[in-house]
Symmetry: C2
DNA sequence: GTCTATACTATGATAGAC
DNA sequence: GTCTATCATAGTATAGAC
């Protein structure tokens, strides 16, 4: 699809950053260029021709590395959710045992990932629905686990009477949502560092659990 | 596109609810069925054939009412953002003059809209990027105005020293984000009323502006 | 306003040479 | 692993009859 001018950029970031991967060469280039295209135009708005052209190879070369366009998206979604979960778990290991410390650490990691890997997060979060079940399974399992990490911390805080909330599930959803959204507005030119943004979100999350 | 099994539903809601519109008949049916299809599969994942088939007419009949598929999406995005802004303005007229009352009223209206019109909100928020500039202009203007409404209330609260925050812009973005996200998880079967959910979000927003 | 029929282009994917 | 060439299908959109 040659596509008419994209107007409202879905992702202000212009870096198709991927976590460290063992594989290199054309395989990786396909992932990188697909990431940029899927983030900008969406999965269905991107053709295999677009991908091949961006990589600088012919269409047939793409099919040497991936059996279908869906497999490219599936891999990006999986990588994104895997890196997300890795970041959350690493943050929790560094955090203390109090629910407040844990929530703060988790939110900061969550936000940092969505700012640093804005394109990857956008594709993994908003294009996953385009995949058939068999290709999305791994990603959905990861997502469920990561959601559970957040919910458990919140519920532990409530059980210990450290967190006050009218509804712990809604509050957890809200905390997840505000962090995810960072991928849609963060740009280095804003003059706010990623750490600064992450810290503000952690503070907001803690306030959400503090009665007025 | 006959499309393989959609796995991770983007919108749990199953009602393609539209605000009151003057027009009826096939024109409206096209909007309703397109809304459902765009919400479930995305704009590029939906063909004019899919739309015609859902409405129960031939493809050519669709083109009698809309000059292109893009115009159908443009109209849905415009309707969604218009209803959103109408709801925000109505809420503000009913609210008192204190920033807290105004923020609470605005957030409740914002959340109610995203729960009541979940599909419309999803399409208007997440498919707009598929439109070329000339078709998205009206919607973008509305969005900018609605964002300004929220920001202004927040900044007024800060100026009056009623709201405490480390960063008013980030906080406003977070408040907008948590409300938008409701469209992605709200279902009547959850056993939570829309008003209840809206009230919780209003409380969370006020807490975000309250120092610990 | 709706239909049938069709034009034309783009699409995902494969075969077979190098 | 990459290329050229090709297939079968699906895509948007239009013409002209009723």
């Amino acid at each position: 699809m040659s596509q008419t001018a994209a107007l409202a950029a879905r992702v202000p970031s212009d870096s198709a950053k991927l976590p460290e991967l063992a594989k290199a060469g054309t395989y990786r280039r396909i992932l990188e260029e697909s990431l940029m295209l899927f983030a900008q135009r969406g999965y269905h708005g991107t053709s295999v021709r677009d991908i091949a052209s961006a990589v600088g190879v012919q269409i047939a070369a793409v099919y040497v590395h991936f059996p279908s366009k869906g497999h490219v998206l599936a891999e990006l979604c999986r990588i994104g959710h895997e890196e997300h979960q890795r970041a959350l778990r690493a943050a929790l290991l560094d955090a203390g045992s109090s629910p407040a410390d844990q929530l703060s650490a988790l939110v900061r990691a969550h936000v940092r990932l969505h700012a640093e890997y804005a394109m990857l997060a956008t594709v993994a979060n908003y294009e996953l629905h385009a995949l058939p079940e068999e290709l999305a399974g791994a990603t959905l399992a990861l997502r469920k686990q990561s959601e559970a990490l957040l919910i458990e911390i919140c519920e532990r805080g409530v059980a210990q009477k450290k967190f006050k909330t009218p509804d712990v599930v809604i509050t957890a959803a809200a905390i997840g949502a505000m962090g995810m959204r960072v991928a849609q507005w963060y740009r280095p030119e804003l003059g706010k560092s990623i750490d600064e943004i992450a810290n503000v979100h952690a503070e907001l999350a803690l306030r959400m659990f503090t009665a007025r």
